[in-house]
Amino acid sequence: MTAADEQHIIHRAKTGDNGAFRLLVSRHMKQAYNIAYSIVQNHQDAEEAAQDAFVRAFRFLEKFREDSEFSTWLYRIVVNVSLNSVKKMKRRTSRETDCSHALASAAGDDMHSQENSDAMQHFEKVLHDLPTMQRAVVILRHLDGLSTKQVSSILQCSEGTVKTHLFRGLRNLRERLEFIRQK
């Protein structure tokens, strides 16, 4: 789907075409889910946050001015909904999260040895134990492949702030990994 096609679909959705909005949902649902998961860290809340974000997007679609990409606007909603969900969760209880299915890592890949896969699992675990913003920034930038500008736009902060979170996140990640390796 080209950018022009998407723009056309957005216009149709704005006029109340449910089919067009469904197309937008189908196109962005997996990425929205991945972003939500990177923040809430469990499948149930990620599903809830992603669906909630689409409902909000539908409600406020008329306000989307099209001065940025639809995906950026949508992912900003996903991030906001997910962060709110994390806040609620923290208030409710700080529960343990199982991140064994968090990342479809190279664990099942025949090319990797068991040792490598263990190391990768350690890496994933440490990544998911980073503070929320550092984790979100590292995942959005380096695993989802978004640019620093896009990340800053989604998180509604400056590029400098994104870089600071990235730098701290990467350093934290490395230090925790080094600690494990020394043990």
Binding site: N18, F21, R22, V25, S26, M29, K30, Q31, Y33, N34, Y37, S38, H43, A46, E47, A50, Q51, D52, F54, V55, F58, R59, T93, S94, R95, E96, H101, A102, L103, A104, S105, A106, M120, H122, F123, E124, K125, V126, L127, D129, V138, I139, H142, L143, D144, T148, K163, T164, L166, F167, L170, R171, L173, R174, R176, L177, F179, I180, K183
Partner: protein, 268 residues
């Protein structure tokens, strides 16, 4: 690149390719001169390489069926939202049409008076429970209220300690610092010893005995404990359903002391 921080942040830009050619050259010159930054650069490069080796796709963990249902679920939620909004709009419309101006003001005033009245009554009740009263004495001369207070505090602290332990994150391979928990558990063991000498209900004594093994295990644990110790403590808490029991005991003590205070204030 005067400060160390500046160099480190410049290293990130350098490695991620978000840097102009001239800045890149400056960093490369610096890296040739500075061993520390060079080492840091290697470490960061290796972290970024490991990140790029990960295939991040939590969405891949969901079935095809899940993804075919997803847009339908979103649509269902949109419809639910729309029908709620419609009901609200209908109510607003009805309110505007049926209720005339004077009635609207009367109803709003009644609502405000009701809200203020409820707040005042609640505050008054809260104030009532603060009436100090030590009406009864225990056989060994310790006021019953003091025993109650200490028992309440014991359960509250035990509850906080166990919630903390149950939710404590453990990083694989990293020891968990339990020094604070050990101190608290020792204090709680002393407190339990004192309270058991007072006349408590059989349920309270039994619950204290149930909590005791966890506290003893914690008090005797290493300052930096490995995962098995933390797991053992957690199992002890979960198997004995201690969090629930402690919470119930807290509620029972709160309400019984409130009732006793109210009873004493009526007698006075």
């Amino acid at each position: 690149m005067r400060s160390e921080k500046h160099i480190l942040e410049a290293l990130y830009d350098y490695l991620s390719g978000e840097m102009s050619e001239s800045e890149k050259r400056k960093v490369e010159v610096h890296l040739q001169r500075c061993n520390e930054c060079n080492a840091e650069c290697d470490k960061m490069r290796s972290t970024l390489e490991r990140l790029s080796a990960l295939r991040y796709a939590p969405s891949a963990g969901q079935s095809e069926e899940f993804w075919s249902e997803f847009p339908i679920a979103v649509e269902r939620r949109i419809q639910a939202f729309a029908s709620t909004r419609e009901r609200m709009l209908r109510f607003v419309h009805w309110w505007g049409k049926r209720v005339n101006g004077a009635t609207k003001y009367r109803l709003a005033t009644a609502f405000i008076i009701l809200a203020i009245g409820t707040t005042v009554v609640m505050k008054w009740n809260a104030g009532e429970t603060q009436i100090p009263s030590i009406a009864e004495k225990e056989h060994n001369g310790i006021p019953l209220e003091l025993v109650d207070q200490r028992t309440q505090r014991y359960f509250r602290q035990s509850g906080v300690l166990m919630v903390e332990l149950a939710n404590r994150k453990h990083y694989e391979g990293m020891p968990t610092d339990l020094s604070l928990e050990r101190r608290v558990s020792r204090h709680l063991l002393d407190e339990a010893r004192f309270l058991k000498q007072q006349s408590l209900t059989p349920y309270t004594t039994k619950l204290m005995s149930d909590i005791e093994p966890v506290l003893i295990e914690l008090a005797n644990s290493e300052r930096h404990s490995e995962k098995p110790t933390v797991d053992l403590l957690r199992d002890g808490i979960l198997q004995g359903n201690l969090l629930f029991k402690v919470r119930m005991a807290q509620i029972a003590y709160d309400s019984s002391s409130r009732m006793r205070i109210q009873y004493a204030s009526i007698k006075e």
